[in-house]
Amino acid sequence: MLMELMLRYNYWISVVLMLIGFYTMISKKNFIKKIIGMNIFQTAIFLLYISMADIEGRSAPIIISETGYVNPLPHVLILTAIVVSVSTTAVALSLIMKIYKEYGSIEEDKILEVHS
């Protein structure tokens, strides 16, 4: 049982990362930290995709290899997902900049104070 769990350590790592990211996203009051959490969450999912594409003993998906290569499709998907993630981060950061200009803070508590 334990061995079986250990064998899937890659999934465990990404699950732990996901939870860290998710927790950061919902618990931190600092907006930048929220965004960091979001990035951790997204990256954990990318790891999940990439590690599931892996086939033992195969090389990266480049045609020159003789031994065959791992499933390339998740890599492509993740490439797209990274772009999405980067765009989200960009939008979020620009929002934070504007919020900072308006409220003079990026701490949720202080902003709510200013707000009310």
């Binding site: 990266a60 020159i64 490439l79 960009a90 950061l93 200009k101």
Partner: protein, 150 residues
């Protein structure tokens, strides 16, 4: 530090040397899109970072002088137009969107495909580069500036 540029002579000189190499590496990555690791996204980002480095070191004014905002916008649209233009060209010759093999070129199917993918990657690269630069320009732009065209 009026424009936020860095005055250290070391950094300025090193950057001056390094930026062209970054750009060449970016082009290399774009061109290697169809058969090996690389592609428009990655290459575009690398090209974009070279301009970001330029902005950091030499200031926004200098960067804007070298690459005016209008030009970036034109590039951004141009890249996408290359991409969709090739798709439309394929459709013109009776294929599906981005079905390259129908293009009437004196080459084998594989070669046409590779050529078309290269063009598409270049288009994507240009767009990504311009978007990255624009994003950075926006982030450091003056307080009172408004609008893409400001």
């Amino acid at each position: 530090m009026a424009n936020g540029e860095i005055t250290s002579i070391v950094i300025r000189t090193v950057s001056r040397i390094i930026i062209p190499f970054i750009q060449i590496f970016g082009l290399y990555t774009i061109i290697h899109g169809e058969a090996s690791p690389g592609g428009g996204f990655q290459g575009g980002v690398i090209l974009g970072t070279s301009i970001i480095l330029l902005t950091i070191v030499f200031g926004l004014e200098e960067a804007k002088r070298r690459i005016p905002r209008g030009l970036i916008l034109v590039f951004m649209s141009l890249g996408l137009l290359i991409y969709s233009g090739i798709g439309l060209l394929d459709m013109l010759f009776g294929g599906k969107y981005l079905e390259y093999t129908r293009l009437p070129l004196p080459l084998s199917g594989h070669e046409i495909s590779a050529l078309s993918i290269l063009c598409v990657e270049i288009g994507i690269g240009i767009t990504v580069m311009s978007v990255i630069i624009l994003l950075f320009f926006y982030s450091v732009r003056d307080e009172d500036a408004h609008g893409i065209n400001a």
